[in-house]
Symmetry: C2
Subunit: 470 residues, 2 copies
């Protein structure tokens, strides 16, 4: 008490910085707390949020969901075609990235990719014919996420495409993804010229079947240890996958050398293709993350975020306790552009690849990947700061994914929608930037953030569904 009277006051200022001006004027010191009202000051949403904080139903549900996510063991178990492996792929159907969207609302790259997939499937012989088909509603367009799948950028998966099959050995749930085409003119950026279609046909004819044999002969492949190793090698397994791709290449080569069922020509073509693509592992990283998060989905009342995905128009999230999307306009991306391109060329945020951040890697694991800043911008210090900041909005850390540069602590894991809304700290996402017109391709890479509005809607919905207090 004496100390309080005799010593100078130590002032912490919460709110407007100008509140502390008087103290400064009198020669005192005040530390202004970086703070803003929860839910950006929205009274109704703020009250909904307040209902959810420390709610025992939510706490219990989150413990269950988080444990299921942590305990998931994604294993690459096979390769097949989407038609055979992915549920609900009958007839003329094309899956796309992000939340649901109608053809006429799709961004340029996604429309271009849909048309390309129709040509690849042989449902039409020209782009005009393909466009007519899709405009007449003869091709169903549904989100990958509604079929247990994920796809980068446009995220197009059509029935004849080969898919990776990733099973969570713990929970039994299965995730699917397409195969990475490489860089340049590729379907996922909306390109649909003959070279693109020819490559897709080769992938269906040779890449898929060869990898199916190799994965079978390998007896599957555990993906979590491989991702963990890559995090120790400077990848964040979203926009930097060179280490994981090399490690996977080595395993596939070993399998190919031991195999008696694959032909030398197929081995040559397939391994050369994989060796030429430092992002080849990306799709597997995404499917592994999808398998981990689907394990945690569907726990009533849980505020754990189980998906973040973008279709170039809308950004959507899913939370474990609600079976619907919460969407907001897809953000623009602050990034580094390739020579000759700038922000005016950029599509809005696109692709299912933010599933990696949802699972605690990608932007959340940037601290493992200082070299990523050469690709997405910023400094190595920013990269570490991004990882640390995400600890404020996650339920914990994933000890399966350790970060050497952060003293081997685990990646921030399990985004709690409440914490996002409460702190205003938005999930950080490393992402490629597509040209806004179909087929131009990637024009840069950068950093973006999930919109707060998605989390506000999610909490509003989950708060309303809580049992009423008596």
């Amino acid at each position: 008490m004496t100390t309080l009277i005799e010593s100078k006051p130590i002032v912490i200022n919460v709110g407007l910085a100008s509140f502390a001006q008087n103290i400064h004027d009198c020669g005192g010191a005040a530390q202004t707390l970086q703070w803003q009202p929860p839910a950006e000051g929205d009274r109704r949403i703020g009250l909904a949020l307040a209902h959810t904080i420390n709610d025992p139903h939510i706490e219990a549900a989150n413990r269950i969901a988080y444990e299921r996510y942590l305990g998931a063991q994604p294993v690459l178990t096979g390769v097949s075609t989407a038609r055979e492996a992915v549920p609900g792929m009958e007839g003329r159907i094309i899956l796309h990235s992000g939340p649901p969207i109608a053809w006429q609302d799709m961004c340029g790259p996604q429309q271009g990719a849909v048309l390309g997939a129709i040509l690849f499937e042989g449902w039409a012989d020209s782009l005009d014919e393909a466009r007519t088909q899709v405009e007449r509603g003869e091709v169903r367009l549904e989100p990958c996420h509604h079929h247990g799948a994920v796809g980068p950028m446009a995220g197009i998966i059509s029935p004849s495409m080969p898919v990776w099959i990733v099973k969570n050995a713990t929970g039994g749930n299965v995730a699917y993804t397409n195969m990475n085409e490489g860089l340049g003119k590729v379907l996922r950026f909306g390109a649909n010229g003959s070279e693109v279609i020819e490559r897709l046909r080769w992938m269906a004819r040779t890449l898929g079947p060869t990898l199916a044999t190799l994965v079978e002969e390998m007896g599957g492949l555990e993906l979590k240890p491989l991702m963990a190793q890559a995090l120790h090698m400077g990848d964040e397994v979203h926009n930097r996958n060179v280490a994981a791709s090399c490690l996977l290449f080595r395993k596939l080569t070993n399998a190919a050398l031991a195999s008696r069922r694959v032909t030398p020509d197929a081995v040559r073509e397939v391994l050369s293709f994989i060796a030429g693509n430092d992002h080849f592992f990306l799709n597997l990283s995404m499917a592994a993350c999808k398998a981990m998060l689907d394990a945690a989905h569907g726990v009533p009342h849980s505020t754990l975020v189980t998906a973040m995905a973008r279709n170039g128009v809308e950004f959507g999230i899913r939370v474990s306790g609600a079976d619907r999307w919460f969407t907001a306009p897809a953000p623009i991306i602050d990034g580094l552009f390739f020579p000759g391109f700038g922000p005016a060329d950029a599509a809005r945020d696109l692709g299912d690849s933010a599933i990696t951040e949802t699972a605690g890697v990608g932007g959340f694991a940037m601290g493992a990947s200082p070299a990523i800043v050469q690709f997405v911008g910023g400094t190595p210090r920013d990269a570490v700061a991004n990882t640390r900041r995400m600890l404020n909005i996650t339920l914990g850390q994933n000890s399966a994914f350790t970060l050497p540069a952060l003293d081997f602590t685990g990646t921030p894991a399990g985004i709690d929608a409440r914490r996002v809304l409460d702190t205003g700290i938005l999930p950080v996402i490393n992402t490629g930037i597509a040209h806004k017109e179909a087929g131009v391709g990637q024009v840069g890479a950068g950093i973006t953030y999930a919109p707060l509005a998605c989390f506000a809607q999610a909490i509003d919905t989950l708060a309303a569904s809580l049992p009423r207090e008596q």
Copy 2:
């Protein structure tokens, strides 16, 4: 002046910490500088050092030597046998690591490896017979470094072994090294049982010739960009080589797939062997460093360190301006031991692999490789601190090898023997620890430091050879 009188003094204490006690007693503050007299207070050596500081002959010589080191472009140009490629390998000769040493003075692992090489060459049929030969002086034992070569641990190169040939495209000088056998029972740790000899014979029969074809068909391989990429992937290319080994594996596989001259069986055996060894790149890293440093060797008066090497008994350094070794007892290693082993089992510091630190990678680039501390001990913070500390004893930084975690600054490069002696900051070395008895193998890994005495002798010699002032 008024400030000086009216304000409190700010005290920096140089020397014994107790000098500052009076100030502390009077309530003042003094900052004690971490400082010790140059040359550990040796008056004669200290005076010699003083003669060399800012000496124009040395400064000019160091500029030349440093530029030659920086400008070197080590290229893997081929694979051959030591007999055919390495100069002076006629007759019964075996090269070993470190400075020159007589048979009877060699440590256990090095003796075991010499005997194994004699069996491998077929000069003797039993270890006893081999020992008799070498004791009778029928086998010449010379340092690798005297033949433009380097070898890890025991560093044994005998005439029939396959060697990597690395040419400095800028300076034309050539370096050689043997091929990495993998872990476990291997010659470089002194093992010489039948499995070791059989593997060496397979390496001579299949590995060497196959790699010779592939390297030829690849048209050579630039090693500096590959090392630089590996530094961005968590390697320090001395004790952590997993990224570099993967990248090399991918290139060799590509070459093998395209080759019509190698047989499928050879490809299978060779690629499986390489895929199973995360240290396979180490020897190439060493040869690349040797090629960079030999480019800088032989500039009169230069105090640039061009080699650090150990034979398990003595630690030796070479400096550019003197054509001799400067040696001191090989240090013990502070490290992490494998289960069942401890410091009492350890051989003293062994191998030519400290050529990597001499060239600014390895321990000098630990800041790039936080995960290395799981192998050699310490924390990621120590790793960064080691890199930063080495900047005090180097002539500059190598912009060809950038460190992402240190904001992409270059590795500390070009050890100046004067700075080591002046500051007492010893070059840090990451290293494996061999069992002191032949054939047990690796028992751990850790960190050690080059002995100051080597640098004192070097400066003493170089100071004496300076032109006398008039």
